[in-house]
């Protein structure tokens, strides 16, 4: 299997005046293409910080990070933004859909904004993804008229729009009831298989973690199980 992500010696320290907080203390993590990985650990273990660093939303204090063979830790802010757009997908605890747009437009947005408009291909891809997540009858619905579970499914479809190498999901079922959460999990497994994208899912939920193909456990800023 191709290695999609290689993180070596990742450290992150936050400073607040004289106060120094060491959140990550040398993380080593490799992910292979098509992996469905659960990142677990107690609150304050550094999961969200690691996810933000891997999602190129935060820079590490030390260490190297490669995604798809590219040294993303050396990139400029503009290069990182472009990389995020082309190679990464995000699913957050809250869907963060654009309320003034339809489900289809929300899905197409990551591709449409840099291109200057929604092309026919983009529209078709967005429709296919919405069909895949079971929302073929909600394609032209405004985001505000969708239920919480439907919105999260639209967010998953949006994450896949640009055919990313890696999808980062931060507590994707955290805001959903059990039934909706199960459906979202089924969906994540399904698209992981069908789209071949690697998923890194940060979760507190053991049920979610158990349904992933691999678990990485963090404790006190270090990987204690399943890093490499």
């Amino acid at each position: 299997m191709t290695t999609i992500l290689e993180a070596h010696g990742i450290e992150k320290t936050f400073r607040n005046g004289d106060e120094v907080t060491e959140v990550l203390k040398g993380i080593d993590l490799d992910l292979s293409g098509g992996d469905l990985v659960a990142l677990v650990g107690a609150s304050g273990s550094g999961k969200s910080t690691l996810l933000s660093i891997i999602g190129l939303l935060l820079r590490p204090t030390a260490g190297t990070l490669s995604i798809g063979g590219e040294r993303v830790d050396l990139m400029s802010d503009a290069q990182r933004a472009l990389f995020r757009n082309k190679k990464l997908g995000f699913v957050f605890q809250f869907h963060h859909l654009l309320p003034d747009f339809t489900a289809m437009e929300n899905v197409a947005f990551p591709a449409a904004a840099p291109a200057g408009g929604i092309t026919r291909d983009m529209r078709q891809r967005a429709r296919d993804l919405l069909t895949k997540v079971g929302l073929e009858d909600r394609i032209d619905f405004p985001a505000t008229r969708l239920s919480g579970g439907q919105k999260q499914r639209v967010a998953i479809a949006r994450a896949l729009m640009n055919r990313p190498a890696l999808v980062i999901a931060d507590e994707p079922t955290g805001n959903l009831d059990r039934e909706s959460a199960d459906r979202v999990l089924d969906l994540l497994r399904e698209v992981n298989t069908q789209e071949g994208a690697t998923f890194l899912i940060c979760t507190h939920d053991e049920r979610v973690a158990k349904r992933c193909s691999r678990q990485v456990t963090l404790s006190d800023g270090k990987v204690i199980i399943g890093g490499v």
């Binding site: 999602g55 939303l57 935060l58 990182r80 757009n85 082309k86 809250f94 003034d100």
Partner: protein, 401 residues
């Protein structure tokens, strides 16, 4: 353009707020247009009142200047004497008149002989300024014929038109004969053909009109004229016209403003006051648009945050906010121009009991293009701050909120 679609959706999503914002901009533009039209109209009215019975540009022979003449010997020099007995005149005036008539911006040309004289009736003597004109062009500069209160405006040989006050001073009426004594020492009996009332004391008390042919022997000017008076389409351009004519003819051309410097100062001060009001209107528009968009940028932080997380370029987000400013500014400006024009038209239609407009407003001088351009530009400038603020949103911070 996708940024345009996003900007439009953002504005339409909170329709009532956008409506109020556009109304605020439109109100500012309406005030801008109203003030501009009022000041323009006032300037037109004052200029008309001042120049209605006088020329916009007066042309006369260049003043003779004393100069040093070379003497016959190497060391001798002499000073040329200026004749005080020879009248300054424009000898080749038909050529100059032809040149003036060929200018499309000149609407009236009147070659004249002007001079001083006394009107004598028995023991009564009154000083009078003679204006001798082509009888066919009596009304070219001053509208005399419509203001005749007795007699006719026919300027035949030995005819004279005088103002009402002068007639009263000398106890004259139409058809009577009076003695005219010019500053050249020539006396002649003339008939009062008509008496006019312009309402201007300077004209009604001191000026008398006669024909050029009558004036020639009286002022000893067998061929020339003393001055040529002209009216132009736009009195505000009298200075430029005078400068052009002076260069083209070599004669001295005086614009009306040079004889009314205090009015020009007053008009300038009035225009400055208007500019200040216009600046305040624009400033209030800019502040209003900026504050509304800053609020919008704050309200949409999480949306912008997710866009940034997805690597949407900062330029795109800046475009979205600048386009919102552009749409608000342009819509408000168009609406404001229409409202301003309507308001000015309505106000211009209100008349006083004497039939004259109650407000000297000129709807066509509302400065619509300036209002449109400045407001749109101002609204775009106003959106720079919120656009930059939105583009600087930290995606991580916004998503975690």
């Amino acid at each position: 353009m996708f940024a345009f679609t996003v900007a439009r959706r953002y504005l339409l999503s909170s329709l009532s707020q956008t409506f109020l914002l556009v109304c605020g901009v439109a109100l500012g533009v309406t005030i801008f247009v109203f003030i501009t039209a009022l000041i323009g109209g006032l300037a037109v009215l004052l200029t008309q009142q001042v120049t209605g019975n006088s020329a916009h540009v007066s042309i006369e022979a260049a003043p003779r200047i004393a100069r040093v003449l070379p003497g016959s010997g190497l060391r001798e020099e002499g000073v040329a004497l200026i004749s005080t007995t020879q009248r300054r005149q424009i000898r080749d005036w038909p050529t100059v008149v032809a040149l003036l008539r060929s200018q499309p911006s000149i609407v009236a040309v009147s070659p004249q002989i002007s001079g001083n004289a006394f009107l004598v009736r028995s023991q009564a003597v009154a000083p009078v300024s003679i204006v001798a004109v082509d009888p066919q062009a009596l009304d070219a500069i001053s509208q005399i014929t419509p203001k005749l209160i007795s007699g006719t405006g026919e300027l035949g040989a030995d005819s004279l038109l005088i103002g009402e006050r002068l007639a009263q001073d000398l106890g004259l009426s139409s058809g009577q004969v009076v003695l005219l004594r010019t500053d050249r020492g020539v006396d002649r009996q003339l008939t009062i053909k008509g008496i006019f009332r312009t309402g201007l004391k300077s004209l009604d008390e001191r000026v008398a009109f006669m024909s050029l042919q009558t004036a020639r022997p009286l002022f000893v000017l067998p061929a020339g004229v003393t001055n040529i008076e002209i009216k132009i389409k736009d009195p505000q351009k009298a200075r430029e016209m005078a400068s052009f004519l002076s260069g083209a003819t070599g004669l001295r051309a005086t614009p009306w403003q040079d004889n009314n410097l205090s009015l020009e100062d007053a008009l300038t001060a009035q225009a400055r006051t208007g500019s200040l009001i216009q600046i305040f209107s624009l400033a209030s528009i800019i502040i209003g648009v900026a504050s509304a968009l800053v609020l919008s940028a704050y309200r949409r932080r999480s949306e912008v945050g997710i866009m940034r997380a997805y690597g949407i370029p900062k330029g795109f987000i800046i475009q979205v906010y600048l386009l919102q400013g552009l749409m608000i500014g342009l819509t408000g400006a168009v609406l404001g121009c229409l409202c301003g024009y309507g308001l000015c038209l309505w106000l211009a239609g209100i008349t006083k009991p004497d039939g004259l407009p109650a407000l000297p407003i000129a709807p066509d001088q509302g400065g619509y293009v300036a209002a449109l351009v400045l407001t749109t530009l101002g609204a775009v400038i106003a959106s720079i701050l919120p656009a930059r603020a939105a583009a600087r949103v930290d995606p991580l911070e916004a998503i975690q909120q």
